[in-house]
Amino acid sequence: MTLRADIHLTLGAFTLDLSFSAPAGEVLAVVGQNGAGKSSVLAAIAGLIPLQRGEIVLDDRMLERVATGIRLAPQARQLGVLFQGLALFEHLSALDNVAYGLRARGVDKRSARARAHTWLERFGIPELAPRRPRELSGGQAQRVALARALICEPRALLLDEPLAALDAQTRLEVREILRETLGAFAGVSLLVTHELDDALALADRLLVLDAGKLAQEGSPEQVMAAPATAHLQAMLSGRRASSTPVPST
């Protein structure tokens, strides 16, 4: 199970050119400043914005290839997406949020809810089933969103800034949830973040994106040893100055 992407697209004055491939089980982090085009990478792979050139292949399945006019709809790509801000459905309970993907694929209400319940149990929150998203804490909402994305057994998991806008306490909690979930996930995980710290803690490999172009690629150690962009250097020096324990080094 590998993900191979060759993405070329233009959005207004912004151009994105990025090629990479990732083997199954790998956690790949796309790091860069705001406006570097990170979220567009995810949106392109998810099929939410069209490529202008290139292709996206997942395993032996062609998701999109501009040259031959192949373009699968987001519905047909079998990807799990964790959106920025989670995008939970406010009018549905946690249980029905998780069950949504099954219902959309024609599973009847009772079995969909039963399976959603086992997913909530897997994340240790079965008692939250009847709650509305606005009644959940940051960590609980993250678990619900992950369960919703994973219930249809996606071939790859795309995570858009999963740790943005969380307070310090919740962030550590959510990072731990993500570490466990991504570790157990068999397919490719693609994580987009502007925080180097989160990428270092969660990813096996980093893609550093700068103004729509690949600036650096490598393991967390390699990127830390020789950061290629000024933004990364600034984040790293801030990191050394602080007293927080550094994971994995």
Binding site: A43, Y100, A149
Partner: protein, 288 residues
């Protein structure tokens, strides 16, 4: 990026320095040296009776003793039935064609969009009698589409269908405007999330978009219904005033007023009760 040791929780906020100027009791009154707010207060005192007294007048002057007898008059029963049928049909028409209009305006960018939006909302500010004349000039027997409509065998002008058309024409903009604004504010990530979870576009509309705009949809529907229920000018101009066919409650009130003052008061009271019921039933949704 600086990292700080995790704070011990919300308690730390008590350590923030006190503001330079401690708030004084009555600060708010003392600050206004002018007399501007007295003028506002006086104007509000004028406004209150202006808006409320007429309702009091209607309720107190209506001869409630005659109310029972009124409910046996066929003209009133006809008007009441017609009002409900026509206004509900107008809401249905507005929903079926107005909601898609709102959706297209909110979701697509095309040349002339602003103009089309202006044209769609124009009936809201147009004098109703002008709306009626416009409808007559278009759907009337000698109107723009008259020959085609005659060929189809329908008689729009001076029929219940015509009354529904007139009410829809003036009431639909309320639904279109409130739904368009709400559709513009729907977080696109919600619909994207549903799409990646495998939901078809129709399913997304039904299970995500519409539930998300529910408060605005209900507010729009109730305003639309209220406007249709009170519709007078366009109806009497285009559909006429025929008992049992086009004479809705407002038209019945107007006609009754010429001969039977008490009857008109009672009919108005009934309309007031219906409107009040709508308002109370929807108060939670409208306040949002």
């Amino acid at each position: 990026m600086k990292y700080r040791a995790p704070t011990t929780g919300p308690m730390t906020t008590t350590r923030t320095p006190t503001p330079e100027k401690p708030p004084e009791p009555g600060d708010r009154q003392d600050r206004g040296q002018g007399w501007g707010h007295y003028v506002l207060f006086a104007l509000a005192l004028v406004g209150l009776p202006l808006f409320v007294l007429p309702l009091v007048g209607l309720v107190t002057r209506a001869p409630l003793a005659k109310l029972g007898a009124l409910f046996t008059t066929p003209a009133l029963l006809d008007a009441l039935r017609l009002s409900l049928v026509v206004s509900l049909a107008a809401v249905a028409v507005s929903t079926v064609v107005g909601l898609p209009c709102a959706w297209v305006l909110a979701r697509y960018r095309f040349p002339g969009r602003g103009l089309i939006r202006a044209l769609l909302t124009l009936p809201m500010v147009l004098p109703p009698v002008v709306a009626g004349v416009a409808l007559l000039a278009t759907f009337g027997r000698r109107g723009l589409l008259g020959p085609w409509i005659e060929w189809l065998g329908v008689d729009l002008a001076f029929s219940t269908t015509g009354a529904v058309l007139a009410a829809s024409f003036v009431a639909a903009p309320f639904l279109i405007l409130s739904c368009e604004a709400a559709l513009n504010n729907v977080d696109p990530r919600l619909e994207a999330a549903a799409a990646t979870l495998g939901a078809t576009r129709l399913r997304i509309l039904w299970t995500v978009t519409l539930p998300t705009i529910r408060p605005s949809l209900l507010a729009g529907l109730s305003l639309c219904w209220a406007r249709a229920l009170g519709e007078f000018g366009a109806t009497i101009t285009f559909a006429g005033n025929f008992q049992g066919r086009t004479q809705t409650m407002p038209l019945a009130v107007y006609e009754t007023l010429q001969s039977d003052h008490d009857g008109a008061l009672l009919l108005s009271l009934i309309l007031l009760a219906v409107s009040l019921t709508i308002l109370i039933a929807l108060r939670g949704e409208l306040r949002r």
